[in-house]
């Protein structure tokens, strides 16, 4: 057995999916809810952990268990959307009032959803990962398999685009 294989076997022995589920289920559920909608999120999250249990021997311990689970969840969500023959649905936002800049501002939920829908797939993905799922740049790089610099750049340009679209929509309205 190779060193990597031994490490993987040791990691697999240490990991208990039931414990991981108790630890990370909510986060995985939210992740799935954003991508497949609330009604399918339960199935996606459950399938994620079941798949993780079946492929436990493949976990090499090179990333955090949560990152590994999120990778599986991402595939499960894509599978569900593919089976439903639809694109990834846009997330539902709560309407909030923001007063961080000193000036109180409310962003319309629909405008935000439309702005998000107007982004390219890569930009929307990185925005979702960072802003909605709360992953750090490094974690996003690990999950998506792109360099951290690319994540930074994509995020900045995604925000510039969002800002532009929201400003335009607000002016029209």
């Amino acid at each position: 057995m190779t060193l990597l294989g031994q490490k993987a076997a040791t990691m697999a022995d240490k990991l208990d999916i039931t414990k991981l589920a108790r630890q990370h289920y909510d986060q995985v559920f939210r992740f799935c809810s954003v991508r497949v909608g609330y009604h399918h999120a339960g199935d996606a999250a459950q399938e994620t952990f079941l798949t993780a249990q079946r492929s436990l021997s493949k976990f090499r311990g090179e990333s955090q268990p949560l990152t590994w689970l999120i990778g599986i969840a991402l595939n499960e969500c894509r599978k569900i959307n593919r089976n439903l023959k639809r694109e990834e649905p846009l997330p539902e936002f709560r309407e909030i009032e923001y007063s961080g800049g000193g000036e109180s501002r409310i962003v319309d939920r629909e405008i935000l959803r439309n702005a998000l829908a107007g982004l390219s797939i890569e930009h929307r993905e990185v925005v979702t990962f960072h802003e909605i799922d709360g992953f750090t740049y490094d974690e996003i790089a690990q999950i998506t398999g792109v360099p951290v610099g690319t994540v930074k750049s994509r995020l900045y340009h995604a925000f510039v685009n969002l800002r532009k679209q929201i400003t335009t929509s607000a002016e029209v309205n």
């Binding site: 108790r22 459950q46 936002f93 961080g100 998000l116 900045y156 925000f159």
Partner: protein, 405 residues
């Protein structure tokens, strides 16, 4: 400027952070952009993902899957063990029974169980064709001067063709001709093996060897087919070839080995079952054809027809005899084993008259033979034990595959 978002997310190192802070102080537009970014972030983070559900169901599923996985592993091993046990039972109990099961039709003929019926029928048929009729037939067809010489010529030709003694060349009387070969003295086991062995023994008195070996052959109902003795001053060797009934083969080998110090001993068996069965089947076919022609001869309407049938009958009987002889030879080969015994005198060098290259070549040849036997033995063992290792292998592969999934 691209660092603005990273700055707001606190993902910059100190130097870059200081640089962005300076830019923010000097550029009001950038500050507005930063405020907008913050506002956007806050709004994006307000996603409504709902209350998670399904953890309890998941835990149940996980436990169930664990149990199923465990039980499936157990069941795979159980099935493997069960099938191995069954395979073992088959090898131990069923296979020998199958081997010693009743003989096939061909074997029956070979054994002689069908023979009496054929004999009786043929004798009857032959008796139905009286000699006077034959004489009449011959006299009609053969342009001879008198009937007696014509009769003699016909009988002679039949005698030359060796029709199994059915018609006596001298008397012209019909005789019984067995269709099947002489049955085995022992009960046929279904498998016919031609056994042979070689034994090399170092003896003190070479002169007594031939007599002693002949005695051994006789005591086991066998005989010596060949013997050669060279008893010179420097070297003495004797070679004897014995034919021993297969059932006494092991005992005879044992007796020969006790004659002195054994230098080498080897045994080999050649399976001649298929050859025997094949020839027996062919013989059976010819016998059936012969019977058909005999019936045809009996019902022949005119002389011409009878002569034609008789000619065919002669050809068929020739073939039949050939196969009968072949089957008899095979039977003898299976019934008698050959032992090639070589004896060297105690003070003589073991390999007389051989150069080192010849010895090496011989050794290499024997080594190759041994290796072939070894490989063959492994193959046979593998095949015989397949009911044990095959299910285990399948179980192992299934578990590995399941693990990978």
């Amino acid at each position: 400027m691209e660092n603005l978002k990273s700055f707001l997310d606190n993902e910059l190192d100190l130097a870059a952070k200081t640089e962005v802070e300076a830019q923010l102080r000097n550029e009001p537009d950038l500050e507005v952009m930063a405020a907008d970014f913050k506002m956007l972030s806050a709004n994006l983070q307000s996603v409504d993902t709902g209350t998670p559900y399904g953890l309890d169901k998941l835990e149940l599923s996980l436990n169930k899957e664990k149990a199923v996985s465990k039980s499936s592993r157990n069941s795979i091993w159980k099935w493997s063990a069960l099938s191995s046990a069954l395979g073992l039972l088959m090898v131990v109990f069923v296979a020998p029974k199958m081997m010693s099961k009743g003989p096939t039709r061909s074997e029956s003929i070979y054994k002689g169980s069908i023979a009496p019926q054929s004999d009786a029928e043929m004798s009857k048929t032959e008796a139905a064709a009286p000699a006077s009729e034959l004489d009449q037939l011959t006299s009609q067809v053969t342009p001879m001067n008198d009937t007696t010489s014509a009769r003699d010529g016909f009988v002679e030709s039949r005698a030359k063709l060796n029709l199994g003694g059915r018609i006596n060349a001298d008397t012209g009387q019909s005789q019984s001709m067995p269709v099947a070969p002489v049955p085995f003295s022992g009960e046929p086991k279904g498998i016919y093996l031609e056994k042979s062995g070689e034994v090399s023994v170092k003896v003190d008195d070479l002169m007594r060897v031939i007599d002693e070996v002949t005695g051994i052959a006789k005591s086991f109902d066998g005989f010596v087919t060949n013997s050669n003795l060279q008893n010179q001053e420097q070297a003495g060797t004797a070679y004897v070839t014995l034919r021993i009934p297969t059932k006494n083969y092991a005992a005879a080998m044992n007796r020969i080995q006790k004659m002195g110090e054994v230098l080498s001993v080897s045994s080999a068996s050649a399976d001649i079952t298929s050859e025997t069965i094949d020839n027996t089947s062919r013989m059976e076919t010819w016998a059936i054809e012969e019977q058909r022609l005999i019936d045809e001869l009996k019902n022949a309407k005119n002389t011409k027809e009878r002569l034609t049938v008789r000619r065919q009958l002669m050809e068929i009987r020739a073939n039949l005899e050939a196969y009968r002889a072949e089957v008899k030879s095979l039977r003898d080969r299976a019934q008698y084993s050959t032992i090639n015994a070589s004896f060297v005198r105690g003070d003589a060098p073991i390999q007389v008259g051989r150069s080192w290259s010849q010895r090496t070549f011989q050794d290499a040849k024997e080594g190759l033979g041994s290796m072939g036997q070894f490989v063959g033995a492994i193959g046979i063992y593998g095949l015989v034990f397949s009911p044990i290792w095959l299910p285990l292998l399948i179980g192992f592969v299934l578990i590995r595959r399941k693990g990978r999934v």
